[in-house]
Symmetry: C2
Subunit: 197 residues, 2 copies
């Protein structure tokens, strides 16, 4: 039982899911491919943490709808208060920034613009999701309550949006810095190319 397994249990605690759906839902928090999830689910099923019902589909392979078992819930409850490891982040763009000073300045601009675009798109999607969830929760009666399975989804979505906004602002800030430079010494560019101390 590794972290990802517990994460799958946590998602399943909110309701039955197929492996494919789990793979999609876990992406924002923990990147994992289907090739990692399917074998894990099979193992967890053998250990009695989850169970599945095969749902036949017309002209397609069976869909396996997984749900958490009582012993799965027990395992999940025991995991939550255990010491939580710190988040892991690996960002190629940030690595490139250490070396960008000896590259073409317009390459630096491109780097930031690309990232700005990805996160602009992401924030649009997230906003839409958040609104949908809001309406859902209002229909479900009460306000955002801890005891509701939607609670986790809600604060996670909010966080994702906050993060996307931060990312965008940071890109815009950096681009402004770069453009100031570019206009100030437009021909010192050649001077820095190909030289190193």
């Amino acid at each position: 039982m590794n972290t990802l397994s517990y994460g799958l249990l946590a998602l399943l605690s909110q309701g039955p899911c197929t492996g494919y759906e789990l793979m999609l839902q876990i992406q924002p928090v923990w990147q994992a491919k289907h090739s990692q999830i399917y074998p894990l689910l099979a193992k967890m099923e053998q250990n009695g943490l989850v169970q599945f019902v095969a749902v036949p589909q017309k002209e397609k392979p069976d869909k396996k709808v997984y749900s958490i078992t009582e012993s799965g819930i027990a395992a999940l409850r025991q995991w939550i208060p255990e010491p939580t490891s710190e988040p892991v982040k690996r960002d190629e763009l940030l690595l490139k920034l250490y070396g960008v000073w000896l590259a073409d300045p317009e390459k630096a601009v491109q780097l930031f613009e690309e990232r700005l675009q990805t996160f602009t798109k992401r924030s649009v999607k997230l906003k839409a999701f958040l609104e949908t969830l809001h309406k859902q929760m209002e229909e479900e009666g009460g306000t955002r309550s801890l005891s509701s399975p939607s609670f986790g989804r809600y604060i996670l979505l909010k966080r994702a949006l906050d993060n996307a906004r931060m990312e965008m602002e940071w890109c815009e800030w950096a681009l402004q810095l770069l453009r100031e430079q570019g206009s100030l010494d437009s021909d010192s560019v050649q001077g820095n190319l190909g030289k190193r101390s």
Copy 2:
């Protein structure tokens, strides 16, 4: 040559470093242990991308001070404009939030308070670092310029601080939500424990 190797090259483009120093410096952007970095540096040395000078130390094993070679710089320049893969994030806390609704509500509070503390500490350190860098750059003459090796460090630090602040605000927001709940229905707690639909 994988991403981490290029990252090490990027760091070395800013000046000579020991493997140990590289390991420390790369942490905020790309978590890697010394056991991964030392063998990589050895390979890169064999491929002529970096070179090292052994500096003897009293009563300690030799310190290897690495520096980037001309062919290392060429490789670095070629890497920067290549397509950049999206950041990877794995956060155990966020996984736990999906399952927290069936656990003790005070466990949820603990989860957020722990994270808030870690990022409060981190932000204090980052602020100090940023001020040091600011002074350094003022002494070095010009304003924050792209052509300075410090440029990458500067925008990276700024970003790390932004991120820490966002993380803190999010924790405080979530804690407020949780405390509202706790005071509103202090005995619905038992009602939700041990039950599932």
